[in-house]
Amino acid sequence: MTAHDVVITGIGLVSSLGVGVDAHWSALTATEPKPVIDSTRYAPYTVHPLPEIDWNQQIAKRGDQRQMETWQRLGTYTAGLALDDAGIKGDEALCASMDMIIAAGGGERDENVDSLILAASETRSDTGVLLNEKLTTELRPTLFLAQLSNLLAGNISIVHKVIGSSRTFMGEEGAGVSAVETAAARIRSGQSTHLLLGGAFQTEHHDMLLGQELGGYLHRAPWQPVWNRQGAEGGGLITGSGAAFLVLESRGHAEKRGRTPYAVVSKVASGNARRNKGDYAEAVTRLIGSLDRPAKESLLISAASGTHLPTAAEKVALDADATLAYRGLTSLTGHLKEAQFPFAVALAAMAIKNHAPYPAFASGEKAYSGQTDSVLATAVGYHRFEGAALLTAA
C-alpha cells in the first residue's frame, strides 16, 4: 500500500437500468436481473434505451443544455454524477486542478438534413452542388459543435469547471481502455493527483446504428444474453444508451480529503491482438494472465460485446479458467461502445465496496458466492482492441 496507489473515489453511471450507482446496484443484484429493451423503434434492431433523466440535476443552465445533443448531455450529466459521488463537484479548487480523459466517439448528425439530401440525390445528378446547396442552408451551426468528439470534454469543462487538463481519446472500446490505463499510469507516477475519466454512448440515433451495421455487426434476432447470440441473425451486437464516469485519485490525495475509496485499480492491461492470426482466445487468456491476479476464485465483470468471433473467443478463455465466475454486463445494459470498459471497472469496484458479488446476469453464468476483495474487468472490443483490469479492496 502506497500513497500513489490508484483508488476509485467516485462513480457515475447511466444506462437503461437507471441513473446512478444505487439504482444500478439494486437492478444488478435483483434475484434475476432483467434488461430494459426496445425492439420496435429501431426494428429489426433491439436497443437498451436511455432511462428518464432530469438533465437539470447536473446541467443547471438551460443554455448549456441547448448547446448539446443527447450524447454530450449524457456524458456531461454522468460526469457530474461521478464528481458528486467523489465529493468534488462544486469544489472550485479541486476541479481546477483535476485532469480529465474522455473516451469519445462522435456526436449526432442531423438526420433530417441527411435524409433531405439523400432524397434530393435521387432526382439530381449534380450531387456535389446539391450538397453545398443543402448543407450551407440547412445545417445548424451549433450542431457542428455537438458533433465534435472533444466537445464532450469541452462541455464538462464549461459545466463542471474541470480544467486541469483535457484529453479526448477516440477508438471505440479501446479508447475507454486507454483512458483507464493512462489515467492509472498518470496517478501512479505522480503526474496526476485526481482525474475524471469516462465515456458516453447514445445509440438511439440511426447514424450510430449505421456505423456498426456497415460492419454487419448488429444483432437482428430477438434479444438474447450476450453469450448466446452465436448463429442468430445479424452480428451479435445489441447496443444501449448510457455512460460511465470514474474519479480516480491517488490514495494519498483521497485520504487527505477523508474519502473512502470503492477500490484500488491494481493493474490495467491493454492489447491489440491480431484477430485474423492465431488463436484469439489465447490472446484473451494472456491478457487476463498479465494482471497477476491472486490465485483464487474471483468474480469477473465482462464487457463482452456479443459480436460473434470475439465473444466466442472470450467465452472460451473465461470458461477454461475454473476459478473465474463471469458476468456479461452487456446483456443488461446493451453495448455502450467507448463506455464499455469504464462501466465494467465501475461494476467491479462496486462489488468490492459492497463486499458482495452479482448474481448471474443471464442463464449459463455460474453462481458465485465467494469473496469480492479482488474483482476483474474485461473489455474485448467488438471489432478491435482489448483491455482488462484487476481491482482490489482499498
Binding site: 439523400l118 450531387t127 456535389g128 480544467i163 479508447a175 481502455v177 503526474q191 449505421l210 478491435r384
Partner: protein, 423 residues
C-alpha cells in the same frame, strides 16, 4: 556529457526522427525550402464543387494517391507518409518500431460520396432506414473501417510494428501537440524508451468546410488564395482550412545516445490548461492560454528568458491572434515585443488535428537550421498587436529554445517547449 535527467529527475526526451507532409509538399526537405522561401500552399479548391460556398480556397493536399478517396483514406496516407519519414530518419527502417503510437486525427464519419452510393444501392424506403438496409447487404469492411475511430491508428501500428494498443486522440486544433505530450509523458513514466507521435488531418471535405464556415471561422479572401492567411495582420478575417501530417520519433536521451542516434532536438516541456468559458471563444482575460504557456515553461524548468522564438498558433482569425498576443504579453512582459514569433499557418493554412505536430516539427527544424520561417502576408500590421512576426522574409538567427502554441475549440490549450540541445 549532457544530463540525461531533467530538472525533476525525469528522463530527458529527445527527438530522433521527423516527418512532414503539407500542401507545400512531401518530406522535410521540400517543406523547409518552401516554408523558408515564404511560399504559400493555399490554392483554389478543386476536390469538390464550390458553388454556394463563401470560402473557395484551402490548403488541401491534392498530390497523394488517396487525395480524392475520402477523409479516412487521406488521413491514413498522411499519417503513414510522415511516420515512415520519421522512423527512417530515426533508424528504424524495416524493423519493428516497438514503442507506443499516439495519433492525433480528426473524428471521421462516413463520407458523402459513400453515403450517397450506399443510398443508391437499395431502392426500398428512404433516409437512414434505406442506408441501414444497404449496409446489411455489404460484403466488405471498407466502409465500416472508414467510420471506426481506432482504425487508422491500428493500421499504422501494424505497419510500423508499434507496441500495444495505439491511442487515437482529439483535442481539436491542439491535437498534434497533445499526441506529442502523451509520448513525452509515457517516456518520462519509464513505460518505454521511445514513442511515435503523429498528427494527421485529411478531412477538408465540403461538409467540414461548410461547418467551419457556418461558425464564421474561415477566411473569405478567395481572390488571391496565397494571400488569404495573414496572421497578426489588421485585415485578417479567418483561418484557411488545410490538410497535413507530421510525425516525431521521441526517445529517451539515454536510449538515443546509447544507440548512437542523431539528436534532432529536445522536447523539454509540455503544458496544458482547459478553458471553461465558452465552446469556441477563449476567456477574455486569456488566463487559460497563459496558464498553458506557464505550465509548459515550468515543465521544462525554463524561465521566460530562455525562449528565443515562438512558433505561434497564429490562425489568422481575429479572435485567436488577439488572444495569443495578450497571453504571450502577459507571460513574457515587455520582452515579448522583441522575441521573434511567426506563424507557419500563413503559408500552410490551419492543418487542424495535425497542426500541433506539423508546427512542432517546423520548430525543431528552425532551431537546427538557424533560420526562422516568416509570417507571410504581413502587409498591414495590426496596431493592437505589437509583435516581431518575422514579416514576409525568413531570418537567420541562433535559436536555442522554442515555445510552440496550440489552442483549440472546446477550451483546449496545449503548449510545447523545445530546445536545440540537452541542458
Amino acid at each position: 556529457m549532457a544530463s540525461r535527467k531533467d530538472h525533476l529527475g525525469r528522463p530527458v526526451v529527445a527527438v530522433t526522427g521527423i516527418g512532414i507532409v503539407t500542401s507545400l509538399g512531401v518530406g522535410k526537405k521540400d517543406n523547409w525550402e518552401a516554408l523558408t522561401a515564404g511560399r504559400s500552399g493555399i490554392h483554389p479548391i478543386t476536390r469538390f464543387p464550390v458553388d454556394h460556398l463563401n470560402t473557395t480556397i484551402a490548403g488541401t493536399i491534392d498530390f497523394l494517391t488517396s487525395s480524392s478517396m475520402g477523409a479516412a483514406a487521406l488521413t491514413y496516407e498522411l499519417a503513414e507518409t510522415a511516420a515512415l519519414e520519421a522512423v527512417d530518419e530515426a533508424g528504424f527502417r524495416g524493423v519493428d518500431f516497438d514503442g507506443p503510437l499516439f495519433l492525433a486525427a480528426p473524428p471521421v464519419e462516413l463520407g458523402w460520396a459513400d453515403r450517397l452510393e450506399l443510398y443508391r444501392k437499395t431502392k426500398d424506403g428512404a433516409g437512414y432506414d434505406r442506408l441501414l438496409a444497404s449496409a446489411r447487404g455489404l460484403n466488405s469492411l471498407d466502409l465500416f473501417e472508414s467510420t471506426q475511430f481506432g482504425s487508422i491508428a491500428d493500421r499504422l501500428s501494424e505497419k510500423l510494428g508499434a507496441r500495444g494498443l495505439p491511442i487515437t486522440l482529439s483535442t481539436a486544433c491542439a491535437s498534434g501537440a497533445t499526441a506529442i505530450q502523451l509520448g513525452v509523458e509515457a517516456i518520462r513514466r519509464g513505460e518505454c524508451e521511445r514513442a511515435i507521435s503523429i498528427g494527421a488531418d485529411g478531412s477538408a471535405t465540403e461538409e467540414a468546410l461548410i461547418r467551419f464556415s457556418l461558425l464564421s471561422a474561415l477566411s473569405t479572401n478567395n481572390e488571391i488564395p496565397e494571400k488569404a492567411s495573414k496572421p497578426f495582420s489588421r485585415d485578417r478575417d479567418g483561418f484557411v482550412l488545410a490538410e497535413g501530417g507530421a510525425a516525431l520519433v521521441l526517445e529517451s536521451l539515454e536510449a538515443a545516445e546509447a544507440r548512437g542516434a542523431e539528436i534532432l532536438g529536445i522536447l523539454s516541456g509540455c503544458g496544458e490548461h482547459a478553458d471553461d468559458f465558452h465552446r469556441t471563444r477563449s476567456k477574455p482575460d486569456g488566463s487559460p492560454a497563459i496558464a498553458a504557456v506557464r505550465a509548459a515553461l515550468a515543465d521544462a524548468g525554463f524561465d521566460t528568458g530562455r525562449i528565443d522564438y515562438v512558433n505561434a498558433h497564429g490562425t489568422s482569425t481575429p479572435e485567436n491572434d488577439k488572444m495569443e498576443h495578450l497571453s504571450l504579453a502577459s507571460v513574457f512582459g515587455e520582452r515579448m515585443r522583441k522575441i521573434p514569433i511567426s506563424s507557419n499557418k500563413s503559408m500552410i493554412g490551419h492543418t487542424l488535428s495535425a497542426a500541433g505536430a506539423v508546427e512542432a516539427a517546423f520548430s525543431l527544424m528552425t532551431m537546427r537550421e538557424g533560420v526562422i520561417p516568416p509570417t507571410i502576408n504581413y502587409d498591414q500590421p495590426d496596431p493592437a498587436i505589437e509583435l516581431d512576426v518575422v514579416p514576409n522574409t525568413k531570418r537567420e538567427a541562433s535559436v536555442s529554445a522554442v515555445l510552440s502554441n496550440s489552442f483549440g475549440f472546446g477550451g483546449q490549450n496545449t503548449c510545447l517547449v523545445m530546445a536545440r540541445e540537452p541542458n
